[in-house]
């Protein structure tokens, strides 16, 4: 097998696994802060219970995120040595700032946040929780800035094949960055919204509900219902931005082979690279043009204009539909759920079981949408690693294919096992009766400076 494709698959496997956990934790950190604040403000034990349970989920996700993140920091070198040699002057500082400003902040205060209660005052503890939340979001800022620069590079010059920065503000705030950052943060919020709702629904279904179940379900549904319309709006703006800067990606998303006016929005099709056309196409006339150009007869440039420089069509095309489809399900479920919940006077036990089943099945829908979206944008950037300037094949490592295949197999088995264990442990924790309220916890530990 082609070593470049293998290296890409290995990197994709790792980055896919990694992104699952920050996607939860970026927003969950803020939700935890909210739970903590509600507990302090209302003194209702349900909020403390919610905080305790979801802190455990946070810690678990953090561990998985840290370890897979460490793997990533090495894979830049093992898989894409050429990328750092050629674009290291740009990518390096952005990654460096991420580690220095964000990663250390989260990791250092996590210990205080998780285990420090009783050892530090209430305010210090709240501040530690805030710093962890701030750190996770700051981390997303730097990583998405670099990723966006790879999609829409600017503020650079190329000297002897190497990128050099001309303006750091132009590099950091490149054209696709604001859209991508907003899109990602909202995706994180939605992922957590459906995880909160899904786990609560599962507890209700299994008759294991606790004092925190009903309020957490309400928080989840409300958050979902608020964020999904925003996400649809931001997604649309992001798409328009992509059309302007990366038309080949949009052509692959929409399955447009020849430049056409009044392009249909394809609900289903089978993109065929050999005939360079779609099989079994079923679409709504003129809708793609209307959405992308805001004119029924607007022109969309087709893939044929980018021969040899456009991404593989089928994965981008299908991933886009998976993302949008999941988003539509999220819209339906959050609004329907919230409406039914309100009609039943916020009594969770009176909710129809079919809705609870639906929400439970949607627990990890945020993962599906997020990963699909990333496939659209990352596969959609191919065959380039820095769009239009640097080809992926030119930066790959010379590692022999069998060695990559071996480690890829290892990573797949490991990550498969870990995802299964993660989901299973969350299910187990959700069904487990609560720990007895720890009495020792409030006591202030004496600090002996041994």
């Amino acid at each position: 097998m082609d070593p470049v494709l293998l290296a890409r698959m290995q990197f994709a496997v790792n980055i896919t696994f990694h992104i699952l956990f920050p996607t939860i934790n970026i927003a969950l950190a803020w939700v935890l802060l909210f739970f903590r604040w509600r507990w302090l403000a209302t003194q209702q034990p349900a909020w403390l219970q919610a905080y305790r349970f979801w802190t455990k989920v946070f810690a678990l996700s953090f561990a998985l995120g840290v370890v897979s993140g460490i793997v990533m920091s090495f894979q830049f070198g093992t898989n894409w040595p050429g990328f750092m040699e050629r674009a290291g002057n740009i990518a390096g500082p952005l990654l460096g700032y991420e580690v220095m400003t964000a990663f250390f902040l989260e990791a250092s205060f996590l210990g205080v946040m998780l285990f420090g209660h009783g050892r530090v005052g209430e305010r210090v503890h709240l501040a530690a929780t805030f710093l962890v939340a701030f750190g996770t979001t700051l981390s997303a800022f730097w990583i998405l800035s670099l990723n966006s620069w790879m999609q829409t590079p600017q503020g650079y010059e190329i000297i002897a094949g190497e990128f050099h920065a001309l303006s750091w503000s132009a590099v950091i705030f490149n054209p696709s960055f604001p859209y991508r950052l907003a899109h990602k943060l909202l995706a994180s919020g939605l992922t957590v919204a459906f995880l909160l709702a899904g786990v609560s629904a599962w507890q209700l279904l299994k008759r294991k509900s606790q004092a925190s179940t009903a309020p957490v379900l309400r928080v989840g549904l409300t958050l979902g219902a608020l964020l999904i319309p925003l996400q649809i709006l931001v997604g649309d703006l992001h798409g328009l931005n992509t059309l302007k800067h990366q038309p080949a990606k949009v052509a692959a998303m929409e399955g447009v082979w020849q430049t056409e006016r009044g392009a249909p929005m394809l609900l289903f099709a089978w993109p065929n690279e050999s005939t360079r056309s779609n099989d079994y196409a079923l679409g709504i006339p003129k809708l793609a043009s209307l959405i992308l150009t805001h004119e029924a007869e607007g022109e969309i440039r087709g893939l044929d204009e980018f021969k040899g420089a456009h991404p593989p069509v089928a994965p981008v095309f299908f991933a886009f539909r998976a993302m949008v489809g999941t988003g539509m399900l999220m819209l339906a479920f959050s609004w329907l759920g919230l409406w039914l919940y309100r009609r039943r006077a916020w009594v969770a036990e009176r909710l129809p079981r079919s809705l609870l089943w639906g929400l439970s099945l949607m627990s990890f829908s945020g993962w599906l949408a997020t990963v699909s979206g990333w496939y659209v944008t990352e596969i959609g950037r191919q065959p380039f690693v820095v769009y239009g300037l640097l080809r992926t094949a030119d930066v790959a490592s010379a590692t022999p294919a069998p060695l990559i295949a071996l480690t890829l197999g290892g990573y797949l088995a490991l990550y498969g096992g870990l995802i299964a264990a993660y989901v299973w442990v969350i299910k187990y924790m959700a069904e487990k009766p609560l720990d007895a309220p720890p009495a020792a916890e409030r006591q202030v530990f004496s600090r002996s400076f041994a």
Partner: protein, 340 residues
């Protein structure tokens, strides 16, 4: 010898790479001491009772995330400041890097799964935790050995790497035992003293072996070491190492190690790590990859380095301050930790 042409130190092209070399070294040194003790505690869990295992993990629970972050910073600086060396080193170490990462992943997830999964699974996750610690520590030793020899191929070089792959975990175990002596009381503290006594000869033998083999493995290092008058200036490093290790051993026999001096074994072993690091740094300078690539050849553009340096100037002191803060919060003997 184009490789040894040194740019003017008054120019950013001259001093910036050196600054980053120092920062990278500092990060990796902090990593080796901090994650060293928590990997060592993982190794020492072998043969401990279940209750003791819980307390051992509790003693490192609040710190391990941040400890591992120093590795990311070290590798991050390699990536950011010396992109050409990063690719070269990580491709040469492809497989051991994968093994180390596997170990760190297993260990990191076992930390959480062992207390969150059903009780019946706890022995399994404890086993994963120990195995992960051993894999990571061993792989790091192997990588260090390969690195010192400049990735030279041959049975002798492999034997050298294998020796360090055994010596480094022994050193981590001794460091971990020092940590436990400091943070524990009672039976577990006494167990830690015993384990320290077991690890000590392995560390000493390993250090002697590595020191004897290193000049043989690398011509460059050999010339560095046995050249007058530098030899005299270098002598304090092995002498202080020997003193620290002998002092440590004597301390383990004294009852005071269970009381007032409980912090001293950890401090002495940390000193040994620092000294070993200084010796290594002296041997390799100014190479990033020995005999092949100097810091100046491997360095990124000065403009990029300058931009990162601003970040370092502001963030590194902050990082150090809140690292100290986090350790202060959990200062003293370790108690059971719980989520709150």
């Amino acid at each position: 010898m184009n490789a040894l042409v040194t740019p003017l130190m008054s120019q950013p092209e001259g001093w910036l790479p050196l600054v980053f070399m120092g920062l990278m070294g500092l990060s990796l040194l902090i990593y080796v001491v901090l994650d060293g003790y928590d990997l060592g505690v993982g190794l020492l869990m072998m043969g401990a009772s279940d209750a003791q295992k819980d307390r051992m993990v509790d003693s490192i629970g609040p710190f391990w995330d941040a400890n591992e972050t120093w590795l990311v910073l070290g590798v991050g600086i390699l990536l950011v400041a010396f992109p050409k060396a990063h690719g070269l080193i990580l491709q040469a170490l492809y497989l051991p890097v994968a093994v180390m990462l596997l170990g760190l992943v297993l260990r990191g997830v076992a930390f959480d799964f062992r207390v969150k999964a059903p009780l019946a699974w706890k022995p399994f996750w404890n086993g994963v935790f120990i195995a992960g610690s051993a894999l990571a520590a061993g792989a790091q030793g192997w990588m260090l050995g390969r690195y010192i020899s400049g990735f030279a191929e041959g049975p002798g070089y492999s034997a050298f790497a294998a020796l360090i792959a055994l010596a480094l975990p022994a050193a981590y175990a001794l460091l971990g035992a020092g940590w436990l002596i400091m943070k524990m009381e009672g039976a577990l503290q006494r167990l830690a003293v015993q384990r320290a006594k077991l690890a000590w000869p392995a560390v000493v033998l390993g250090l002697i072996g590595v020191s004897l083999m290193t000049p043989w493995v690398s011509e460059t290092v050999s010339q560095r070491w046995f050249r007058m008058p530098e030899l005299i200036a270098l002598l304090p490093i092995p002498l202080m190492t020997a003193l620290a290790l002998l002092g440590l051993r004597a301390l383990l026999n004294s009852h005071r190690v269970l009381g007032k001096l409980c912090w001293l074994p950890f401090a002495l072993m940390s000193l040994v790590m620092v000294l070993g690091f200084l010796g290594l740094a002296y041997s390799l300078y100014p190479f990033v990859v020995i005999d092949r690539m100097t810091v100046w050849q491997a360095a990124a553009a000065s403009k990029s380095l300058a931009f990162i340096l601003w970040g370092v100037v502001f963030t590194l002191p902050a990082i150090l301050i809140y690292t100290v803060f986090a350790y202060r919060v959990f200062w003293g003997k370790a108690s059971e930790i719980r989520y709150a």
